[in-house]
């Protein structure tokens, strides 16, 4: 029992260390002043990794039950759907005019 607790605590410390390293990394990369696309990709990727570590290990999501995974999976899908729907509808500035105009004026 005592070993389990010690092992658990060690695990949390390892994750803490990783989170600190990743925080350092994300700040460090920002000082490189990369162009927008790689900067966003790297920044979001690091953030996703940190979030995954917190979720899996601190929030005990790793090894959680299906009845928790399903609503979260649905939520993730809907979030992506919202942002995609929003950008694809209003993001002419992002995607040019390749999606066509609702009303042509010719």
């Amino acid at each position: 029992m005592a070993h389990d607790v010690a092992a658990q605590v060690r695990g949390y410390m390892v994750v803490f260390g990783a989170l600190l390293v990743l925080t350092l990394a994300t700040v460090g990369v920002s000082y490189l002043r990369l162009p927008e696309t790689p900067a966003v990709l790297i920044g979001i990727s690091i953030a996703l990794t940190k979030a995954a570590l917190v979720a899996m290990y601190f929030m005990h999501l790793k090894g959680e039950k299906p009845m928790v995974y399903w609503p979260l999976g649905l939520t993730a899908f809907l979030f992506v759907g919202l942002i995609a729907g929003l950008l694809l509808s209003e993001g002419d500035h992002l995607f040019g005019t390749q999606f066509g105009d609702a009303f042509t004026t010719d």
């Binding site: 029992m1 389990d4 607790v5 658990q8 605590v9 949390y12 410390m13 994750v15 803490f16 989170l19 600190l20 925080t23 994300t26 700040v27 920002s30 927008e36 900067a39 966003v40 920044g43 979001i44 690091i46 953030a47 940190k50 979030a51 917190v54 979720a55 601190f58 929030m59 005990h60 039950k65 009845m67 928790v68 609503p71 979260l72 649905l74 939520t75 993730a76 809907l78 979030f79 919202l82 942002i83 929003l86 950008l87 209003e90 993001g91 500035h93 992002l94």
Partner: protein
Amino acid sequence: MEIPYTTEVRPDTGLTNPKLGIWLFLASEVMLFGSLFSSYVLLRSGAPTWPVQHEVLSVPLAALNTVVLIASSVTMVMAWASLAPHAAAVRDRLRSPNARAMASPAEASAEADSLKRYRLFMGLTLLGGAIFLVVKAIEYGDKFSHHLYPATNNFLGLYFTLTGLHALHVIVGMIVNAYLWGPGTRMWRSEPERFANRIEVAGIYWHFVDVVWIFLFPVLYLL
């Protein structure tokens, strides 16, 4: 009248009601912050010009806050870990055949130790939250003193709205944690497992607040 599966897990789902409940609540919170992040992406991508974020805001202060909040997440999970293994032992003692309400000296000292460790870690979590809010207040004050307000432009509007809503969530979390650090510990004597589960559930909420900041930091300060 007892609601089933408040403390014991339901066999087919493997969950307690509070554990399922907090994840459902967090699903809605993901959609809330997700909607706000979506708004940020739309407004920023559509803007002809956008301030250089790290020149307007203080990256060092925010980096400090990031570390503080992550550390408070660690102390929060340590607070739970201090209680959880012992909770089962206390429960067994309370339920044993000769109903020993009084612990043996060794048991009593182990139980007191775990409560002390819990109090230490939960206290540190509260301290982390307080430091976070103080730094936030310093940041806000600094902006205001330079006449930078939410109405100044959409970047600042989004900055204040997103971090403000996040700070509100921090405050709510701290209120819950303060209760669980103070008067809430009464439950440790009578229903230790239920109390430990409460700490876990409060922890899951607190970690979520940390996760939101993990995204806010790069999006608002670095990119």
